[in-house]
């Protein structure tokens, strides 16, 4: 997996739109944006480390007060994502949450009922649990970054092994922050 991340790290990220035969370079190819730096790492950071929302399939209307007017009330929370299927089977995160809810064991149903709006926003709570628990992704990122930016695990130099360890500890510290713990973010006050 780590090798796979490397092999495609340099794939280009660009967005060109053709309107009436004319090409508009929204994100120009010439900028040299790369999959690893401009897509993969920011995505993992935003979605799995910071629980930003999966974008839904419908827009929210600020004039109709569908989003908070005050800046401090607005937060990147999955609450603003569209978790209910709108005229379709739903976006993948929605399907995932529905699946998780469908197979949720009774003790977890009971658990989620105690938090936030209980059954009303259980899909949202499941989405947050999912985002904060994607350890297959975060562990791959940690391994790939160690491989790319630090040293091999069997490096004979103790200074290099120390650097590896400090990197690993700094990553683990991120998971230990209070705002990274599920019980701290499964409430409506979470910002």
């Amino acid at each position: 997996m780590v090798n796979g991340i490397f092999a495609i790290a340099g794939r280009p990220i660009y967005h060109h739109v053709y309107i009436r035969g004319e090409c508009y370079e929204i994100i120009p190819k010439s900028k040299g944006f790369m999959w690893l730096y401009e897509a993969a790492l920011p995505y993992v950071e935003a979605v799995f480390y910071r629980t930003s929302p999966f974008r839904g399939t419908k827009s929210y209307n600020a004039q109709a007060k569908q989003v908070p007017a005050r800046q401090e009330d607005f937060h990147y929370g999955i609450l603003y994502a569209d978790v209910f299927p709108v005229g379709s089977a739903g976006i993948p995160p929605t399907l995932l949450m529905q699946d998780m809810l469908h197979f949720l064991p009774p003790y977890l149903v009971e658990y989620y009922q105690q938090y936030c709006r209980g059954e009303d926003d259980m899909l949202v709570q499941l989405g947050i649990s999912f985002q904060r628990s994607m350890y297959c992704v975060t562990s791959a990122v940690i391994q790939a970054l160690r491989q790319a930016l630090l040293y091999p695990l069997d490096d004979p130099n103790p200074d290099h092994l120390l650097a590896n360890r400090q990197f690993f500890e700094s990553q683990l510290d991120r998971f230990k922050r209070p705002e990274a713990r599920l019980r701290a973010i499964q409430n409506q006050e979470y910002r």
């Binding site: 780590v2 090798n3 796979g4 490397f6 092999a7 495609i8 790290a9 340099g10 794939r11 280009p12 190819k29 010439s30 900028k31 040299g32 944006f33 790369m34 730096y37 790492l41 970054l145 790319a148 930016l149 630090l150 040293y151 130099n157 200074d159 290099h160 650097a163």
Partner: protein, 133 residues
């Protein structure tokens, strides 16, 4: 004396680097007066990258240029100059930290040959290809 490109071309262990610099159309830049400090990964360093990495980069020139210019710093910085600093800023724009241990280390690469002087700068040979971040 020869310029940075001439030195790399005449050396035996820089064929991947030279091919990459040619593909990225950076030959003229590295032949210009500069001066530049170039951290030059050997063929072995490129060979350590996972299969497919070089192939992908050679097909995507702006991305290849970014990786290559991350190995170039404006000015002529000898080992003694570099080791007095914590970091230098690459032409790509990202910082390159300088190691603090006894061996001459640039980021996570070790310099296997330092202070190879050229008309338009200096080359330090690396045992690894560096990546930004």
């Amino acid at each position: 004396m020869a310029d940075i490109v001439d030195i790399a071309v005449s050396a035996e262990n820089f064929s991947t680097l030279v091919a990459a610099v040619q593909a990225a159309d950076l030959v003229d830049t590295l032949k210009s007066p500069g001066p530049f400090t170039v951290f030059a990964p050997t063929d072995d360093a490129f060979a350590q990258l996972p299969p497919g990495t070089i192939h992908t980069l050679l097909q995507n020139i702006p991305q290849l240029s970014r990786i290559l210019t991350f190995h170039v710093v404006p000015g002529k910085l000898m080992q003694a100059d570099l080791q007095q600093r914590e970091a230098v800023v690459s032409v790509e724009g990202s910082p390159i930290p300088i190691g603090k241990s006894e061996a001459f280390e640039i980021k996570n690469a070790t310099v296997v040959a330092a202070d190879i002087e050229a008309d338009n700068g200096v080359i330090h040979v690396l045992d690894r290809v560096m990546l930004m971040g």
